[in-house]
């Protein structure tokens, strides 16, 4: 829970001057299912990356490097479109 600031402490004009600070907001807590990948089956087509609404597929060195669980909302699009079906949606246990 962030400490809410007084009118003297925030920039004027409603501006948000810290670009991309939504990254600090955890939308991963929305999930009821989480994606998990079978690394052996993955062909690194990166379709999951280009279809993710939440920019939550990590790509490193042209390879699918995992999920950003801080922000992944568990929508299941990645599992649905994966051409080799290497992503499973598992129930989130929390």
């Amino acid at each position: 829970m962030e400490n809410k600031k007084s009118w003297k402490e925030i920039p004027i004009g409603g501006k948000i001057i810290e670009a991309g600070n939504a990254a600090k907001y955890n939308t991963g807590s929305w999930r009821t299912f989480r994606p998990e990948k079978n690394d052996k089956k993955c062909i690194n087509c990166l379709f999951c990356w280009i279809y993710c609404p939440d920019s939550s597929i990590k790509v490193e060195d042209d390879k699918m490097a995992g999920f950003d669980y801080e922000h992944c909302k568990g929508c299941g699009i990645c599992a649905s479109i994966c051409p080799v079906k290497c992503i499973d949606m598992k129930k989130e246990i929390q």
Binding site: G20, A22, R31, W49, I50, P53, D62, E70, H71, S80
Partner: protein
């Protein structure tokens, strides 16, 4: 042609942590469109799902400059930003090449935003306008817009004992925009990412206004499971419901044609907003919808042929 591995090397411009619904089609559209240029971009957005969910004070998911003004005026607002850019560049106060893109939903584009869009196009500002077309005023609860298709049930034109949903066809905004004689107009779909990114690249490259009308999935308003976003999106294209076309300097062209167009009911059936059309008394609407799609496709083929001939 876009190379996905090259695209993945570009820095992400929209961060995670925004509060669009899980499985929202709008952010997929935005991410892909922004891959169309490596230059710095300033984004404007009309009021709507995109703006509201990505900029809840004090958080912003935009890692690039962003402005929201009001509902109907993103085109006018970006006109101002783009003009300021030209004014300051002319005076040597800005050295970089900067691109400008305005995002508006069908609400903020087909209806209330049509005037400011038309004005910006006529004036020839150098910007890209992207309509993320989810076929209703989704942010405020699925109210009908000028972009809602015939037969869809929305909260202000719902299906009922005396109605089969929206009786009117949706506007052909792509044709309206093309009539402004701007250098580049296209219809795209995030399901066909290569086609969309290529179109975005062209749009950002042209001198003058460019317009991308991109069908945008909304599993809440259209009523289908969230994981089917891309599956339903592909059907929109494969049935000819949303043709992938472009108009480059007045020449109309299909950028993708399915080998055989699937019957439109395959696209309509999985969606709750069309469920009522499958009742016996409404089946005639399904026939009308198929007929409308066939006629629209034929019209587009005529446009392609005619505009090629003149060229």
């Amino acid at each position: 042609m876009a190379n996905i591995k090259e695209l993945a090397k570009q820095p992400e411009r929209l961060s995670g942590g925004h509060r669009l619904c899980a499985g929202c089609g709008a952010s997929i559209v935005v991410r892909q469109v922004l891959m169309g240029t490596k230059d710095p971009v300033v984004v404007g957005s009309a009021t709507g799902c995109l703006e509201v969910a990505t900029t809840i004070y004090p958080y912003t998911a935009w890692k690039i400059p962003f402005i929201h003004n009001a509902f109907e005026n993103v085109a006018a607002t970006i006109s101002g930003v783009e003009t300021a850019y030209r004014a300051l560049k002319k005076k040597g106060k800005i050295k970089k090449d900067i691109k400008f893109v305005a995002f508006g939903g069908d609400g903020g584009t087909y209806d209330i935003g049509l005037q400011s869009l038309s004005g910006a196009l006529e004036r020839g500002h150098n910007f890209v306008y992207v309509c993320y077309q989810n076929e209703a005023y989704m942010n405020t609860g699925v109210q009908r817009s000028g972009g809602t298709p015939k037969g869809a049930s929305t909260t202000t034109a719902p299906s009922g004992k005396a109605s089969y949903g929206k009786p009117q066809l949706r506007k052909d905004l792509t044709a309206i925009v093309a009539a402004h004689n701007i250098p580049y107009v296209a219809q795209g779909s995030a399901s066909h990412w290569n086609d969309l990114v290529t179109k975005a690249e062209k749009a950002f490259k042209v001198e003058g206004p460019a317009f991308l009308n991109v069908i945008s999935m909304c599993h809440r308003g259209w009523r289908f499971p969230q994981e089917d976003t891309i599956k339903i999106n592909k059907l929109a294209v494969e049935t000819g419901y949303w043709p992938l076309i472009e108009v480059e300097n007045g020449i109309w062209k299909f950028t993708y044609k399915p080998k055989e167009r699937k019957p439109v009911v395959e696209f309509l059936k999985p969606q709750g907003r069309f469920k009522h059309l499958f009742k016996e008394e409404n089946k005639f609407v399904l026939e009308e919808i198929q007929k409308d799609i066939d006629e629209n496709w034929a019209r587009l083929e005529r446009m392609c042929e005619a505009s090629c001939k003149v060229a």
